[in-house]
Subunit: 131 residues, 4 copies
DNA sequence: GTGGTCTAGACCACT
DNA sequence: GTGGTCTAGACCACC
């Protein structure tokens, strides 16, 4: 299990972790019931504060993606929760739109934006496209 | 000129303002040389603090999209800012990439992402594709 | 008499005027007793607000470089005042120093800075180097 | 680390701070990776408002000289910012030129101006002359 | 502990 | 009237 953390990114570290775990779950890289590394293990591997990993796990548990069993460890949930509500998807569309405008304004051409989009979509695993 | 701010959004108000001004400039809603609402005017219309609008305008000026003239007001720049540096463009590509991944794993389908992208690009006026 | 005004400059317009009048006086382009253009004349020629020219003239008069005779007009003083006190010169050195550091940091090489300096000094007329 | 601010100066406090930090970086007083005083620390030491220091740090970060890491602090960048754009360099040359002219007509001799320039350039460490 | 954002309100410089 | 700077103090997110 490989994580990639950028301490200089504008998005918080705990979010980088949750986002990557989420991605691994939905692409099947992490299977239901599989055990996640412990907080201490992961934090030392990533060279981040254990509190930060702890917070990431807490958020993931709250969203139902993982479950913690006291004294045993942390595991991927047997049934994955719904990915999002229509409202959240509308929000994502707005954010994507804003990001594209910013990119365009910032100096990327239409072609570059299309290339990034296509390249990026092609790289993604194909999980539950429909839900 | 209508602005819409969402006080519950996670992105700061000044960024919502800059984004909307950028958009207006590139969709042609704001024309080169046109005067923007004064800080006090906009701040009272939006019910936010003048400092917040001031910060948004300052960032827009720094990026070269608008020009302020001492004691007279704020205007859309006559010439669009020059092409950004490779480093900045790389940063924008990374951010766009991240946004697409988040959208996908947040529940948007490939088709929805392509649609938003195309729709958005089509709306934009042709500004600096060639410079 | 030709003035050059940049409304986008960071230094105020009235200061651009006073600085240029001062320069003309000390280089001999404007001779003692010579009449300056009227405020209305100058303001319409420069396309700036008459109040701005008025303020510039007021400052010049306060520093003793020009004199206004009611109903007759504005004239260069017969005897030019001392150019500066040691304290002011120390201040100028500090500002120059700061500007050089900013230039260097901002991307100019040592050679470019030396070139600008030499080129600039060579262009200047040679008035009262000693005072 | 000693800062000196002049509340009577015409240049804003936040600019006095950025200038001094720049200078410390380029004279080697501040080394890459080194931590800067925290905003609250510096603001109380200087007896200015934390917002003012915050603004100075923000500008320095924007120019790439320093890096702030969420919740940890502010550090001198490991790699110096890349070469600025031609437009920015032209702007710097104009400002330098103006400062030299003002210095000259403000009472400094050619020799004094050359001395300040050379002395100042010699103090600076060799940073990005080659990039 | 760190920095980031926002408000409220003051004062100043410029046109 | 315009924008720019600064203060005082609040609240939040992150580590």
């Amino acid at each position: 299990m490989l994580f990639h953390i950028d301490t200089h990114s504008s998005s918080p570290i705990y979010e980088q972790i949750t986002s990557q775990v989420k991605e691994m779950c939905y692409t099947g890289l992490l299977r239901p019931g599989e055990q996640l590394p412990s907080i201490r293990e992961l934090s030392s591997q990533m060279v981040v504060n254990p509190n930060t990993v702890s917070r990431a796990y807490a958020e993931l548990e709250r969203s139902g993606l993982i479950v913690t069993i006291r004294g045993r460890g942390t595991f991927v949930a047997e049934v994955l929760p719904e990915r999002s509500t229509p409202r959240e998807r509308a929000r994502l569309e707005r954010m994507l739109r804003r990001q594209i405008i910013d990119s365009y304004y910032g100096g990327l051409t239409r072609e570059q934006i299309r290339d990034v989009t296509e390249h990026c979509l092609n790289e993604l695993e194909a999980p539950h496209d429909g839900n």
